[in-house]
Every structure is written in C-alpha cells, then in structure tokens.
C-alpha cells in the first residue's frame, strides 16, 4: 500500500512541495525541537491519485465550459457543483486507508479514542497560483473520528474551487491541474494548563531568565488578563526555578462536556495550587529557549500542557513570535562601575555589596 502520510517528525526539506507551506512549517518546528501538537499531513499525492481516479478533469471541463466570470450567479452555481462533486467523489487507491491508519495512530499516541483534531488545508507553494487564496481554504476544528476526518479532507480539497480562486485561474489562463492540495491533521490541544512565556524577564529585562505565566485550562484567560496567572522565573542556563508566585486563580477556561470552551469558576485547592509541576515549568523554559535560539531573538511564546499526551511529551508550542519591548532597548552594561579596571571594581564591590546579597 502507498502511504500518503507524512508525520511532522518525518519532515525534511525535500518534502516541502508535497506537503505545502503550513505542514512544512509544522514539520520544521518539530524537527528543531519545538514540539507543536502532534499530527501529520496528507500529501498532495493523495489529492492527485483521487483526482485522477475520479476523473475530476472531465467534470471540471464540463462544469467550467463557457463560464462567464462576471456572472456571479453562474459562478456560484458552477463552483458550488464542483465543490459538491469533490466532497462526494471516492478517494483514490490507499488514500482512505492511509488516513484511517494515521488517525488511529494519533489516537494511540494520545491514549484516547476519537481524538479531536484540526483539519486544515496546506497550500503547496508560496508562488503557486492559488497562494493568495490560502485564507479561503477551509479549516475544521474539533473533528472527531476517521470518517469525519475523511469528510473534512474532501471538503478541504473542494476549497481549491472557491468562487474567487476558480475565477482567478480562469481569467489568468492557469491550468486547474496546476493546483494541488495537501491537508494537515493536527491534534486539538485539550490543555491541563496553558499560558505564555517570555525569554527574558519582562520586569527587568534580564536575558538570563525565562518568565512563565500559567493558568489552568486554555490560555485565553492568561492572554486576555481575565485570570491572574501563576508566575515562574526560570534560569536559562541551569533551568533552576528562581522564583515562583502562585496566584489565586478565580476561573478557568475549559471544555464543557463536549468540544466547546467555557469559563468556569475554580473551587477549592485548585484555585490556589500551582498549575504546573516543576518538570513542566522546566520543559516550558527549555521550549522557550529553543524557540529563542531557533529564531535568533527573544521570543514571546504561547504553550499548553496537553492532557492527552504522555508526561515528557505533553508540553506543546502553540505560537512563537519576537518579543518587542525589551528587545528594542539597549541592554545596561554590567561594567558601569569600576569598568574594566579590576582593582577599582573590587573596591566598588566591597564598598557597595548590595549586589552580593541574595535578593
């Protein structure tokens, strides 16, 4: 059987065209030690074999014959029919089987049945004709079960034929065969706790420190400020936790029995307990430091501890972007008093040993 699956950790540069920009980026991050939530890409080969098996070209030729791109009713009707056709066409050889196997594997890794996933289109190339329409391609969240994943994949494929993208190709004379699509299937995070981290101390700009804000459940409360988060400082070199401030956390953002995020009051010791273990704090710090190294400048990251993943693999990176406040300042030089003159510096240290005291 031909597998049309690329797990994120199996990514290498040569696969970029096969899996598209989004999957390539997730694969690159995984490879760089930045653990995004686990998942895989259904490669463009799956789309190609399905398209050819269902003779999609014939259907396209029929439905696009004589299309007047200025006639919106006609465009809506024809494109709608194309998308319905794709969403209902049988998949090519081994594609469905590949998807089912990969989904089962993801369930196994997450120790859960019907693990909820996000299914997203992944554009094949930056300069492909449909690149500018990437935003119109579909994304499906909280998809559960292999059947639902297969259905979502077909709908992602169908989103190659949005009204605008189709018209654009027709007007520009691009071949419809020139566009292909890869689809990313990625585990939805069901966080025990989540939050943000900075690769410097936002209160004093100390670059040897990683500052973590954390709360139970989803990170929305931390980002919006609705929850007073636990705050931890971690040394970047030894990974020692140099400060911990555990806050009283009034609410958490969590899933209701189904797949909807709701705000719930926190009760009992959960409100006052630290929402991270020491091991998790250090894992987040390492993750943040890795991101800083990878991107070459201080980072501001969002992370979560996923309830479904095993310990040691459950801290995942959701987003990383450059830190902007302290990074723009010129750092204070520690050699201001006494300068490079060793004796002057020693005298200054003896005279003013405040720095020598444990704060």
């Amino acid at each position: 059987m031909t597998s049309h699956i690329m797990w994120f950790e199996g990514y290498w540069d040569g696969l970029k065209l096969e899996v598209g920009g989004k999957a390539a980026s997730l694969g690159e991050m995984t490879g760089a030690g930045l653990p995004v939530p686990p998942g895989y890409a259904l490669t463009t080969s799956a789309y190609r074999v399905s398209r050819d098996a269902a003779d999609l070209d014939a259907t396209l030729a029929r439905l696009l014959h004589g299309l007047d791109t200025r006639d919106t009713d006609m465009v809506t009707d024809r494109c709608g029919r194309i998308r319905t056709h794709i969403a209902e066409m049988p998949m090519g050889p081994d594609v469905e089987e590949s998807l089912r196997q990969a989904y089962d594997e993801l369930c196994r890794r997450s120790s859960t049945n019907d693990v909820p996933v996000a299914v997203r289109s992944s554009a094949t190339s930056e300069d492909s004709p449909d690149a500018s329409f990437a935003g119109e391609h579909d994304t499906y969240l909280w998809v559960r079960g292999a059947d639902a994943v297969i259905d979502a994949v077909r709908r992602c494929w169908a989103s190659l034929f949005t009204d605008r993208a189709t018209c654009y190709r027709v007007e520009m004379g691009y071949e419809h065969r020139s566009v292909e699509m890869s689809v990313v299937v990625q585990k939805m995070v069901r966080p025990i706790s989540a939050g943000v981290a900075f690769t410097l101390n936002p209160s004093d700009g100390d670059r040897s420190t990683i500052a973590i804000d954390a709360a139970w459940g989803f990170g929305e409360g931390v980002v919006s400020g609705e929850v007073t988060p636990d705050n931890f400082l971690v040394d970047k070199v030894l990974y020692e936790i140099s400060r911990r401030k555990v806050a009283k956390k009034e609410v958490e953002f969590t899933l209701d029995g189904g797949d909807h995020v709701v705000k719930k009051p926190l009760e009992g010791s959960r409100a006052t307990d630290a929402c991270l273990t020491d091991a998790q704090i250090k894992a987040i710090a390492r993750l943040a430091r890795t991101a800083e190294r990878h991107y070459g400048c201080p980072q501001d990251i969002e992370w979560a501890v996923d309830a479904d993943l095993p310990d040691g693999e459950n801290v995942v990176l959701l987003q990383s972007r450059p830190e902007t406040v302290w990074s723009k300042k010129v750092a204070d030089s520690p050699t201001t008093t006494g300068g490079a003159d060793m004796m002057a510096s020693i005298v200054s240290t003896l005279m003013n040993p405040l720095n020598s005291r444990k704060s």
Partner: protein, 602 residues
C-alpha cells in the same frame, strides 16, 4: 516579630555553669566597662567554626584566628569599608561582630588597598607558591617540638659541657612558647590570602548579579568550580586505597569492621602489606584530617583514629563491589562549567562586557584553589599537629601527677599552662613538691562540670540590634548571614507553614527521612537515602555524601563546606537555616528545595 535580639547582658549562665567566665581570657568576655560599645553591636554565634562550647585552651586558636583576620583587614590591606571582626565568648560559645571602618577613613584606605591588594592579585601565583613553602616549613617546625620529661641530671656533653648555658627546664618552656608563636603565625599565614580571595570572588559575584539580576548563586559558584583542590585529596586517597584493596584482592579483609582484625589479615599477604605501606604513605599528610572544623582538640583526626578512614574505605569497597564508580566526575563537572560560562557570556550585551566577565572569572579561578586548600593546610594538618603536641605535653603532666588524663590540659587557659609548666620546672629544679598535683585535679573537675553545663546550652543565634540591612561583605560570604536569615532568626524557627528558610546552596528538590547529627561521632548512624541535618558539616564527612539525598545545615553560606560538596555531588542543600537541628527530628519526613533555600516539614 521582635526587632532585636537579647542583649548579651540579659543572658544568664546555664544552671551549673556559674563562674564560667573564669575559664576564658578576661578580654574575651562581655564586661560592664565596655557595655555601651558591646550593647551597640550586633553579635552572631559563629556556628560555622565553633558550634560547641569551647574548653579553655581551645579558645586560644579562636582568639588567634579572629584577631589575625582583623589585623589583615585593618593594618595590612586596609579593606576600605571593613575593619576587623570583634569577638567575645558567652556561656562558652563564640560570638562575632563585624566592625565597620569609619566613613572618614575610607578614601585614604582605598588608595592603600588598591596598592597592597593589587600587588597580591598581580602576583598571586608566585605568592601562593611561597605560601605553600611557608606553611610546610611551619608544620616541620611544629614537628620539632618535643615535650619530654625533664631528666634526672642534664646530659654532660649535650648540655653542660657544650656551653649552651641553658637547660631542659628552660627548653620545655621555650617549646611551649614556640608552639604558641607558631600557632599565631599559622593564623597570620591563614589570612594573608583569604579575605583577598573572597573579595575577588565577591567581585565576580557582584558582576554576575548586575548582569543577570536573577542568576542563581550556584550558577556563579559552578562557573568557578571544577579545579582539582587539595581539600578533596583525603577523600580521593580513601577511594584510591579502596580501589587498590579490591584490585589486589585484599578487599575481603575489611569485612570484619575491626581495624586490628583487618590488619591481621592484611599482614598475612604481600598484597596486604603493600596496601598497609600505601595507607601509611597517604596518611602523611592527607589523613591529618579532622572530623570536625579542626578548632576543637576533641575533633577526631583520621591518622589518630584509623577506624574512621578504615570504615570509609570499607564502605567504598562495598560500593566498588556493587559496580559503582567512585570517581568524582571531573570531566563532566568541567564540561558543565564550560557550558554554563559560554551560555551566560552569550547573553551579555557587548564584547567589552564579555571581556570584563572573563577577566573577573579568571581572577576568581586564580584565587579559588587557595580559598579551598588553606583549610586543609591550616585547620586540618597544622591544627592536628598542634593538638598532638599539646596532648603530649598533657601526658607529661599526667606522669608528674598534675592531672589524670592527657586531655585535661585543655581545661587550662593558655597562660595557665605556662604557669603549670613553671611549677613543674621549679619543683624539678629545686627539687621540692609542686603545687599543681594538689591544685589542678579538683580545679579541672570543677571546670569539667561547668563545661558540661555550657555544652547542654543551646546558644542563641544572635544578640543585640541587627543592622537594617546586612552589607558587611565577609559576614555574608563567610558566615552566610543575610538580612533574610537574621529575619528568620528573629521569627524564631519554622514559620507557620512548617518551613525553614536558608541559603539555596545547591539546587534540586528531594523528599525523604531526616537524620539529625550533632557531632562527627554520629556520622556512622547515617543510612542510605536519608537527608542529613546537622549544625554544619566538615570536609572529612565527604564519604557519607555518597549515601545521602540532601543536606540541611544550621549555619554556613554559599561557600560553606556543605554547599561546595553538595554541588560537587549533585545533591540539594539548604544552608544557614538557623534552626534545622532544633526543629527537625531524626525520622521526620522533610522536603529540601535547594533551588529556593526552603526546607519543609511534611
């Protein structure tokens, strides 16, 4: 919470210790004549070096040590802000107070300090080489002292006809004076380098704290560590001997746990005899190693109590048989040190800063071996010889009927020993009955009772009014006394949360059963997997650090022995908690958070 500690004048003598003041030099006592000055100072008990009640003669080295420290700060180096450390004895315990330099003198002191200290830093390695020669010569000179009984008649050739003009009675007194002179000289040598070493270390420390306000103290310590130092050599010798025993097939001889039986077996084979020879070679000087701080004549010294090194060696043999690797992972420690240095350097804003950082780190590393090694040469080796010579003199007086045990001599003040020797000299010269045999036995018994009463007293950690902020550099560095620890003492032990706070001396968090140890005699009680809780630890306890999970001490800072060894062994440690041994009991389950300096009773 109180804002001051009791005045030294408010603290009564323990029951049964009335009149204890007679056991110590008058100048070391709190006195009405100096009350205004004494009541204005902040006194802390030095549990790092003198955790127990002093016997009269043992106070000699206390007075010599602290006075020499002061002399270097004030008269030699002119450390700009710090004069000496004043000392007192209260209820038999050592109390210290740092004396700041007058504000007006500081400017002039800076110039002198730059010149004098600068010279030492510039020429550190040469001066240190000289120091090593001086200290070894001093030990040799100490070894020439011999307290033999005075002869019936002087030797005709050697004394009478040689024209020397002096006799054995003079010599025995001269030798005692020589011993005191050498002991004081030893302490002069001790402080020739020490405070400078600490100053360089503090400067590096201060730089790191300015560059990275949140840097853990132990990251700084780790950047400096990783140098082979002689202080670890005794333990290394034990390991070497354990390996030799196993490799040459005589390891089984140690199974009996009895020194004599072991030696019997060893003497039965060539390999065994070779091992004994090798042991003797290691013993001088490396087993001149005290089980305590070295400041008490009662501290056991390995070379005189070979059952101690034998037991450690037997333990190491067991560990080797289990396939454990005894070697200190020096390569790993150095690799980790280099990683830490490189990563922090990378975080500095400019190349100029990196250059300054490397310069200060370099100096801290230059001074580090002295800061570590002096302890072996002074407190262990030289002190061992001093205690041996004093016991020899004590034994001589036993033969002359002055008292009944050689160690009774330590119930005399140093000046009283001179008096007793003169008494002996006079009775020998005349001859006529000496006064000592009818005077000292009862007096020594009385003093023994007082000392026992003092020993059962738990010294208050501090007296007087603490400064708002502790800024005295040596207080922080050597004694680990900070504004926080003083606050904890005022709070009086574990807080309501059942937590004790101290210095985060070595990182990591563990939970386990406590083993509270008050004296080196108890260290064989320590079981695998326990957490050691002690007033302080000594370098000679190194062999038990392979057994324990963590260490908690009452006293000591980042550079205390417990802190250094725990970092080497990768064990969490919290030092300077003030009350660990009075709050925690053997068997209590505790959590030691060495990263945050917190001990929790579970």
């Amino acid at each position: 919470m109180a804002d001051r500690f009791p005045s030294p004048f408010e603290i009564p003598a323990p029951a049964g210790a009335e009149g204890w003041q007679q056991l110590y030099t008058y100048s070391s006592l709190f006195s009405e004549g100096r009350r205004d000055y004494e009541d204005s100072m902040f006194w802390f008990q030095d549990g790092v070096h003198w955790p127990n009640a002093l016997r009269p003669w043992d106070a000699t080295l206390y007075e010599y040590a602290i006075t020499s420290l002061s002399q270097y700060n004030t008269r030699h180096l002119q450390v700009p802000p710090a004069n000496g450390i004043d000392f007192r004895i209260l209820n038999g315990y050592a109390y210290l107070t740092p004396v700041p330099a007058p504000e007006a003198d500081i400017e002039a002191r800076v110039a002198n300090f730059m010149d004098r200290a600068g010279f030492y830093f510039m020429n550190w390695n040469d001066l240190y080489d000289k120091w090593m020669i001086k200290i070894r010569d001093l030990v040799k000179e100490l070894e020439t002292i011999d307290f033999d009984p005075l002869p019936e008649i002087e030797d005709a050739d050697g004394v009478v006809k040689s024209g020397a003009g002096v006799g054995s009675g003079w010599k025995i007194q001269a030798d005692y004076h020589k011993l005191l002179d050498l002991a004081l000289k030893l302490w002069q040598f001790h402080f020739e380098f020490l405070n400078l070493g600490y100053a360089a270390y503090l400067d590096f420390f201060g730089f790191c704290k300015a560059a990275w306000p949140n840097i853990p103290d132990l990251a700084i310590a780790k950047m400096v560590a990783g140098v082979e130092v002689d202080l670890f050599r005794p333990d290394e010798e034990l390991k070497r001997l354990a390996r030799m025993a196993v490799d040459s097939g005589v390891g089984e001889a140690f199974a009996t746990g009895d020194v004599e039986a072991t030696c019997q077996v060893l003497k039965g084979s060539d390999a065994g005899n070779a091992w004994i020879a090798s042991f003797q070679e290691s013993a001088e000087p490396w087993f001149n190693f005290s089980t305590g701080s070295g400041f008490y004549h009662s501290d056991k010294i390995w070379i005189e109590n070979v059952e101690i090194p034998f037991e450690f060696i037997a333990n190491y043999i067991e560990m080797l048989k289990k396939g454990e690797d005894l070697a200190r992972p020096m390569d790993a420690i150095r690799a980790e040190r280099d990683r830490i240095v490189a990563e922090y350097a990378e975080l500095l804003p400019s190349d100029a800063d990196r250059e300054a950082f490397q310069g200060k780190l370099g100096l801290a590393r230059v001074v580090f071996p002295y800061v570590e090694n002096h302890n072996f040469y002074v407190e262990h080796w030289s002190h061992s010889v001093i205690w041996r010579k004093m016991r020899q003199l004590g034994e001589l007086c036993v033969k002359e009927g002055f008292w009944s045990e050689a160690t009774d001599i330590f119930f005399l003040k140093r000046t009283e020993v001179e008096d007793a020797l003169f008494d002996y000299f006079h009775s020998w010269a005349t001859p006529a009955p000496a006064a000592g045999p009818t005077y000292w036995p009862a007096e020594i018994e009385r003093r023994r009772g007082i000392h026992a009463a003092l020993s059962s007293w738990k010294p208050t950690p501090a007296m007087g009014v603490p400064p708002e902020v502790i800024t005295e550099p040596f207080t922080v560095m050597l004694w680990g006394i900070t504004t926080e620890s003083v606050g904890a003492w005022l709070g009086g032990g574990a807080g309501e949360d059942g937590q004790l706070r101290g210095m985060s001396a070595s990182p990591g968090v563990v939970e386990g059963p406590a083993r509270v140890i008050f004296s080196p005699d108890q260290i064989s009680e320590v079981q695998e997997g326990e957490i050691l809780v002690a007033p302080l630890t000594a370098p000679s306890w190194a062999p038990i650090f392979g057994k324990i999970q963590a260490t908690v001490t009452d006293t000591g800072g980042m550079m205390s022995h417990a802190a250094i060894v725990c970092r080497e062994y990768g064990l969490p440690a919290v030092t300077g908690t003030g009350f660990a041994t009075s709050t925690i009991k053997t068997g209590d389950r505790i959590r030691v958070d060495g990263s945050n300096g917190v001990v929790t009773l579970l």
